[in-house]
C-alpha cells in the first residue's frame, strides 16, 4: 500500500495560542518532504498531528482518502512510524529490545522468527548490530539516535515521520542516515516527512520543502526554488547567500538582521 498524505486546513490551538494555522500540503509516496522553520514554528506539532497524537482543532489529514480523525490510534500505528525529537531511552533495555519495541503492535509473547529477523536486519543496515546486547542508555547520544531511527524503520512503515532525526550526529552519520532514509523512501515508496534544522541538508535531501513560520506555511515546493535569500531573511531573520553548486543549493548564513539577543544583552 502506498499512502499520499493530504493535510487540509489544519489548525491547532494550545489554549488561546495558535500553533498551527490553516496548514495545507500534500506529501507523496516515494518522496522525502522536509519541514523547516525557526524554533517554535510548529514543526513538531505538525508531525504529532500527522501521527495522530494531537487531534487538530479544525481541518483534517487524509491518508489516501481516509480521514485521520476517524481512525483509531492502533490502526494509525500499523502504517505510520513517528520518531519524536527526544533522544532519551529510559529504562534498562538492550539495543535489540529498543529496536524490537518498534514492532509492538505485532509482538506476541513468544517472538516470531519474522520479528527477530526484521529486527536483526534493520540493526545490520544501520550498523548498530555490534551494540545489540548493550544497554541503550550506555550508548553515546549519537549512537542512541541511530537506535531510535532503527526503531522507527523496523516497523516497515508506509508513512515515516521523523522529528530532527540527525541533530545529534556527526557529519558522516548525518549523511549516512539521511541517505539510508532517502533510499528506503524511494525503494519502498514510503511517504517520508522529516523536520530538519540544517538548511543545507534540507536542500540536499528534500524532494519537496515546506517552510513553516509562525504556524503557517510560508512557502512550499521544490527546495531549489523555495530556498532563496528573501525567504530565509523573512522567516529566520538572517541574511544569507545562496550559492548554486553542482546542481544543488548551498546556504551560507551571513548575519542576523534582528539582533534580538544582542540588544537585550546590551540593555541588561
Amino acid at each position: 500500500m502506498v499512502v499520499t498524505i493530504k493535510a487540509d486546513g489544519l489548525s491547532i490551538y494550545y489554549g488561546n495560542r495558535c500553533v498551527l494555522s490553516n496548514v495545507s500540503f500534500v506529501a507523496k509516496p516515494g518522496e522525502v518532504t522536509v519541514v523547516i522553520g525557526p524554533n517554535g514554528a510548529g514543526k513538531t506539532t505538525l508531525l504529532k498531528t500527522l501521527a495522530g497524537i494531537i487531534p487538530p482543532n479544525s481541518g483534517d489529514v487524509f491518508f489516501n482518502n481516509n480521514r485521520l480523525s476517524r481512525m483509531r490510534r492502533e490502526y494509525i500505528s500499523k502504517f505510520v512510524s513517528y520518531l519524536p525529537q527526544e533522544n532519551v531511552v529510559p529504562g534498562i533495555l538492550t539495543v535489540f529490545e529498543v529496536v524490537l519495541l518498534g514492532r509492538v503492535p505485532h509482538l506476541t509473547w513468544k517472538l516470531s522468527e519474522e520479528d527477530i529477523r526484521i529486527t536483526t536486519k534493520t540493526m545490520e543496515e544501520l550498523g548498530i548490530k555490534v551494540h545489540a546486547k548493550k544497554y541503550a542508555n550506555q550508548l553515546s547520544g549519537g549512537e542512541r539516535q541511530v537506535v531510535l531511527v532503527a526503531q522507527a524503520l523496523v516497523r516497515e512503515p508506509e508513512v515515516l515521520l521523523l522529528d530532527e532525526p540527525v541533530s545529534n550526529l556527526d557529519i558522516r552519520n548525518k549523511l549516512e542516515i539521511l541517505d539510508l532514509i532517502k533510499n528506503i523512501t524511494e525503494e519502498k515508496k514510503v511517504t517520508t516527512l522529516i523536520v530538519l534544522h540544517d538548511l543545507n541538508l534540507a536542500a540536499k535531501y528534500a524532494d519537496e520543502l515546506i517552510v513553516l513560520s509562525g504556524g503557517k506555511v510560508y512557502a512550499k515546493g521544490n527546495p531549489h526554488k523555495v530556498l532563496n535569500e528573501s525567504i530565509i531573511q523573512s522567516v529566520y531573520g538572517i541574511e544569507a547567500e545562496i550559492v548554486k553548486y553542482n546542481g544543488g543549493s548551498v546556504v551560507i548564513p551571513l548575519r542576523s538582521v534582528m539582533h534580538n539577543l544582542q540588544s537585550s544583552y546590551r540593555l541588561a
Binding site: 529510559p90 535489540f96 509473547w109 545489540a132 546486547k133
Partner: protein, 341 residues
C-alpha cells in the same frame, strides 16, 4: 537471531537461579522455628500424621507461614514493579503510595471502633476485610485524583503521596484515642507479621497473584513499551491512559490482598522490583516472574531471620526485611556500573 537467543538464555538462567534460591529459602523457612524438626520429618508429616505434635506444628504454622512468605513477597514484588512501571517512577511501591497506610487505617478502624465495613464478614476476618477495603479505597482515591488530570504519572504519584499522609494522620488520630491494649494490637499489626497466616489466606493470595500475573503477562510488551515514555508508546499504537487505568486496577487488587493479611511489610515492594530489574532488564515477559521470585526470596529470607534472631521468639518480619534488604540493595546500587532506572 543468535543475539536474541543469548539475551533470552541469560534471562532464563537468572530466573532459574531465583527459582532455586526461592525454593531453598522456603525449605529453610520450614525447618527453622522454636521447635527443632528435621526436614525429613516435616516432609513426612505433610503427607500423613507421623507425629501428632509435629503434624500440628507443620500444618498450622510452618506450612502456612512459609507459603504466605512466598505469596506475599511475590505479590508485593509484582505490585511494586507494575506501580513503578506504569507511573514511571522508581520510588513507587505499595508503601510509598499510601496503600499500606490505607490498610493500616482499616485495621485500626476494626481494632479501635470495632467497625465492620464489609457486611457478613466472619469475626476472624474483620481486620483483614477492613484493611482490604481501605487499601482498595486508597487505590481508587488515587485513581480518582489521577482522572482529573488525565492519568499522568506525576498526578498519580503526588496524589498517592498526599493520600498516604492523609491516612497516616488519620491512623495517628485513632491511635491517640485508642486504649493501651488496642494500641498495642494496632502497633503489632503495623509491624507486619506472618504469624497470622493460614492456608486459606495463602490460597487467597495465591489465586489473586496468579490471575493478575496472567493478565499482566498478556500485556507484557505494551507494559515494556511504556518505559519508552508516554508519547513514544502512544505513537506505537498503545492507548497509554487505558493501559494505565487497567493495570492500576489489577495492582490495586493485588496490593490490597497482599497487605490486608500480614500488616505493613515495607521495602519488599520497593526493592524486589529494582533488584530484579538490575539483573534481568525491562522485558516484562521475564521481569514479571523475576520480581515475583525476588520478592518471595527476600521475604522468605526475612522470615528465616525473624525466627533465628532471638531463639524461641518470632520477631515481626516487617522490621527484619528492611534491615537485611537495605545493605544488599545499596550494594547493588553503589557497586553496579550500569544505570538502574
Amino acid at each position: 537471531m543468535d543475539v536474541y537467543r543469548e539475551i533470552l538464555y541469560r534471562r532464563i538462567k537468572i530466573i532459574i537461579i531465583f527459582l532455586i534460591l526461592c525454593l531453598i529459602l522456603a525449605l529453610l523457612n520450614m525447618i527453622t522455628g522454636p521447635m527443632k524438626i528435621s526436614l525429613n520429618e516435616i516432609l513426612i508429616n505433610i503427607v500423613y500424621t507421623h507425629n501428632k505434635t509435629v503434624h500440628v506444628v507443620v500444618w498450622d504454622c510452618r506450612l502456612p507461614w512459609t507459603l504466605m512468605a512466598v505469596m506475599i513477597g511475590g505479590a508485593l514484588g509484582l505490585a511494586g514493579l507494575e506501580m513503578q512501571t506504569i507511573l514511571n517512577n522508581p520510588l513507587a511501591s505499595p508503601y510509598t503510595l499510601g496503600v499500606s497506610a490505607g490498610a493500616g487505617f482499616g485495621a485500626a478502624v476494626a481494632y479501635v471502633l470495632g467497625l465492620r465495613v464489609l457486611p457478613a464478614v466472619p469475626v476472624e476476618f474483620i481486620v483483614p476485610a477492613n484493611a482490604f477495603f481501605f487499601a482498595f479505597l486508597t487505590c481508587m482515591l488515587i485513581m480518582f485524583i489521577g482522572r482529573i488530570r488525565d492519568f499522568t504519572s506525576e498526578t498519580l504519584v503526588l496524589g498517592g503521596i498526599a493520600i498516604a499522609f492523609l491516612f497516616h494522620s488519620m491512623l495517628a488520630l485513632l491511635e491517640f484515642f485508642a486504649s493501651e491494649e488496642t494500641l498495642q494490637a494496632i502497633v503489632f499489626w503495623l509491624f507486619g507479621s506472618l504469624t497470622k497466616a493460614t492456608l486459606l489466606k495463602s490460597q487467597v493470595v495465591f489465586t489473586v497473584l496468579t490471575v493478575v500475573s496472567i493478565l499482566l503477562l498478556f500485556r507484557s510488551w505494551k507494559i515494556t513499551a511504556l518505559r519508552l515514555g508516554d508519547e513514544k508508546a502512544e505513537s506505537l499504537g498503545i492507548n497509554v491512559k487505558n493501559l494505565r487505568i487497567e493495570i492500576l486496577f489489577y495492582v490495586s487488587l493485588l496490593t490490597s490482598v497482599a497487605v490486608c493479611f500480614t500488616g505493613i511489610i515495607a521495602f519488599v515492594g520497593l526493592v524486589a522490583p529494582h533488584i530484579a530489574r538490575i539483573l534481568i532488564g525491562e522485558d516484562h515477559r521475564f521481569l514479571i516472574f523475576g520480581s515475583i521470585l525476588c520478592g518471595a526470596t527476600v521475604l522468605s529470607a526475612g522470615a528465616i531471620v525473624s525466627k533465628v534472631i532471638i531463639p524461641g521468639a518470632i520477631f515481626p518480619i516487617g522490621i527484619i526485611t528492611s534491615m537485611i534488604g537495605v545493605p544488599f540493595f545499596l550494594f547493588l546500587v553503589i557497586r553496579g556500573r550500569k544505570q538502574i532506572w
